[in-house]
């Protein structure tokens, strides 16, 4: 009997929260599965959209980079430089904006059934991750076209992907919880995403910033506060190899910020979670 004992009290932490999260892994799977199934229902070209959207962004960013004459390491086609940055950026921007809205989109679930609410934003990240993996064919396509062979550093790519997941998860959790209470974030998020595309090294490379003599040192650190700088630099380092270097202190700042976001995100989400059904 006591196997399933549940005690509900006001104010006390649910000590079984993480165990519950594990118990509800089936729901986690089904929510992700639902979103993937639904995503391209009743579309003519379906899953191709996960390729076309980043591809168009790549072309635009390629053009902007070329227009402003950002530097490209020797022997690396510009399009690969842009591609290696656009894909993780797209993953971050879509999962950030979709997790932020995920609780509101699923409000009918939140007010009618119990489950650890963390499942909702987490499964949204997974859906975006799958989109990202599909869009990876673009990069492979360009690599084949330019006959570009990556070296052993490619093996570290999953680590940077993990960093991208942590970053989008942390920020997404925090904003999604805030969004339940203050719908203002619905309007802030698209702006942040749009703004982020230009302050992150997508069209240009971080080397342009770090190696510039004109830019003062403290601006370089402020620039590194953007956790996506670390992610994108990491991606480029893995894919494009030796010519691209990582600005180590900036990189550490980026990682630290990502992890900090994750902890703050989880902490705030857990704190607000109990009131979601009341205020959504």
């Amino acid at each position: 009997m006591s196997k399933y004992r549940i005690v509900i009290e006001s104010g006390t932490e649910n000590s079984n929260y993480w165990k519950d999260l594990w118990k509800y892994k089936g729901l986690f799977y089904f929510l992700a599965w639902r979103d993937i199934l639904v995503r391209y229902k009743q579309t003519a070209i379906g899953v191709l959209w996960s390729v076309i959207r980043p591809l168009l962004t790549i072309f635009v960013m390629y053009f902007i980079g070329w227009l402003f004459g950002s530097k490209v390491p020797d022997g690396v086609p510009r399009i690969l430089l842009v591609c290696a940055a656009t894909l993780p950026w797209q993953f971050f921007s879509s999962s950030f904006s979709e997790t932020s809205n995920s609780l509101i989109v699923n409000s009918n679930l939140l007010t009618k059934v119990y489950f650890p609410r963390l499942i909702v934003p987490a499964s949204t990240v997974i859906v975006c991750l799958i989109d990202f993996l599909i869009s990876f064919v673009i990069l492979i396509g360009f690599m084949v076209y330019y006959q570009y062979i990556p070296d052993y550093k490619m093996l570290f790519l999953p680590l940077f992907l993990l960093l991208a997941i942590i970053t989008s998860m942390g920020t997404g959790l925090y904003i999604s919880a805030l969004n339940v209470k203050y719908r203002d974030f619905r309007y802030i998020i698209p702006f942040v995403v749009q703004f982020g595309l230009y302050v992150s090294p997508v069209a240009f490379s971080s080397n342009d910033i770090f190696k510039s003599e004109k830019i003062p040192e403290y601006v370089k650190y402020i620039y590194s506060l953007n956790p996506m700088v670390g992610v994108i630099d990491g991606f480029r380092w893995c894919i494009l190899g030796g010519e691209t270097t990582i600005f180590i202190p900036g990189f550490i700042v980026s990682i630290a910020i990502s992890i900090l976001f994750l902890f703050i995100g989880i902490w705030y989400f857990r704190k607000m979670e109990k009131t979601f059904a009341d205020i959504i």
Binding site: M1, Y4, I8, K112, V113, Y114
Partner: protein
């Protein structure tokens, strides 16, 4: 105490009602302007006129033992749904403590999480997992669920193309195949046709009786409550008023609904007539004032008749009308040599149980000499409500199945 499966102690739930601002959520601009306001005028710092406390549940305590089927009854806003939401861990209580020994499945809505774009098959899996079933469990019961819902042909059609009946059937079929120790159900049976409602109720009763499942059931359909539940709790304004057998609680609920009704009709304007009604009231079989009757209880009308002189051939006539003013029956009592002159006479009409079907009724009462004179008459008085206390037609609650119950005989294979 080992068989107590749900223990609720001093449970309260507070909400803050927002005035002026109708939106359910807070906008950042309000927070900022409020902060500024309270900074400027420190007078209303403590009292925010925009919000008001509202206790949806107040100091609720009860125990439920394993295998009990408890109905929760109350008017709209009595706190029934809030109670179920707190028990299902959807909202957290403001004070109090709940201990639950078992797996809970709550059904607060039919088809929670159904996605219109997904097919019936996909939705069964999705909804099942939302309600807490494992993938394996759903697979095992899939055929049973589909058969119960009677939608085999449309399994691969998106549910947005389903008729609402099919949708509800499929949604309830998934829920009906849950196997928790405790099932919490909130008015979900209000949808769907009568036949399917009956099927669902039967299924719920089945699992409860055969497998010792505990059921908490909220409904406004008293017939369903008395069919399914052996006990009931009456909630009003967030408090538990009473807990007893379901028929007693239903009676109390209906009684409480009409406490603004006059206790009896007293007439003072006819004192000069030869014979007249002094008062008329409806009472139950124990002579207690009552205007809500179970379908299986006697309805009594208590007359006080004063007679000033002995008239020959006077009749007391009573017509019963239903709510659409259709005359249901007439009954008469000859009063010749029955009344005592110059004093009050007490006469009681007893309408036998199991005759009138659940509905609202009114009566017209008259003292008359047939075809000669109407002496005293009161039209459309003594409104009563007859409620279903678990009749065999309880599930046809919204349908007209006639004015009277008749215990007909059937002869099968007689030729």
């Amino acid at each position: 105490m080992s068989d107590t499966i749900i223990k609720v102690e001093n449970l309260s739930k507070r909400y803050f009602l927002k005035h002026k601002n109708a939106e359910g959520y807070v906008a950042l601009r309000d927070v900022i302007t409020d902060k500024v306001k309270s900074f400027v005028s420190s007078k209303n710092k403590k009292q925010n006129p925009k919000s008001e406390e509202f206790w949806a549940l107040q100091d609720v305590s009860f125990d439920i033992k394993q295998g009990e089927r408890v109905g929760i009854i109350g008017r709209n806003g009595a706190g029934k749904s809030t109670l179920l939401k707190v028990l299902s861990r959807i909202v957290s209580p403001t004070t109090g403590r709940i201990t639950i020994d078992g797996r809970v499945a709550s059904l607060l809505e039919v088809g929670t999480g159904f996605h219109p774009e997904l097919t019936g098959r996909e939705n069964v899996f999705l909804n099942g997992s939302i309600l807490g079933m494992s993938k394996f469990e759903i697979k095992r019961k899939f055929d049973e669920i589909v058969a119960f819902a009677e939608v085999e042909k449309f399994l691969d059609t998106p549910v947005k193309r389903y008729s609402s009946g099919m949708y509800v059937r499929l949604a309830f079929a998934v829920a009906a195949h849950l196997e928790p120790e405790i099932l919490i159900v909130d008015e979900v049976l209000a949808v769907g046709d009568a036949k399917f409602q009956k099927k669902c109720l039967g299924k719920m009763e089945d699992v409860s009786i055969n497998e010792g499942r505990t059921v908490l059931f909220v409904s406004h359909n008293m017939g369903q409550i008395s069919t399914l539940c052996d006990q009931a709790m009456l909630l009003d304004k967030g408090r538990i008023i009473n807990r007893d057998s379901s028929s007693k609680i239903i009676q109390q609920y209906y009684q409480g609904n009409n406490d603004d009704m006059s206790t009896s009709l007293v007439f003072n304007d006819a004192n000069d007539k030869e014979i007249y009604f002094k008062s008329i009231k409806t009472v139950d079989i124990n002579d207690d004032r009552c205007d809500n009757f179970a379908h299986d209880a006697s309805i009594c009308i208590d007359f006080q008749i004063n007679s000033n002189q002995n008239l020959p051939d006077v009749l007391l006539g009573v017509h019963a009308y239903d709510k659409s003013d259709k005359r249901i029956f007439t009954t008469e009592l000859p009063l010749t040599n029955v009344l005592k002159i110059g004093q009050s006479n007490n006469i009681k009409l007893i309408i036998p149980p199991n005759i009138l079907t659940p509905n609202n009724y009114k009566f017209t009462c008259g003292l008359h000499i047939p075809n000669v004179q109407m002496i005293d008459e009161h039209r459309g008085i003594c409104p009563v409500t007859i409620f279903d206390n678990g009749s065999k037609f309880a599930n046809y609650n919204n349908l007209d199945y006639g004015c009277v119950f008749i215990d007909c005989k059937w002869d099968i294979n007689s030729k």
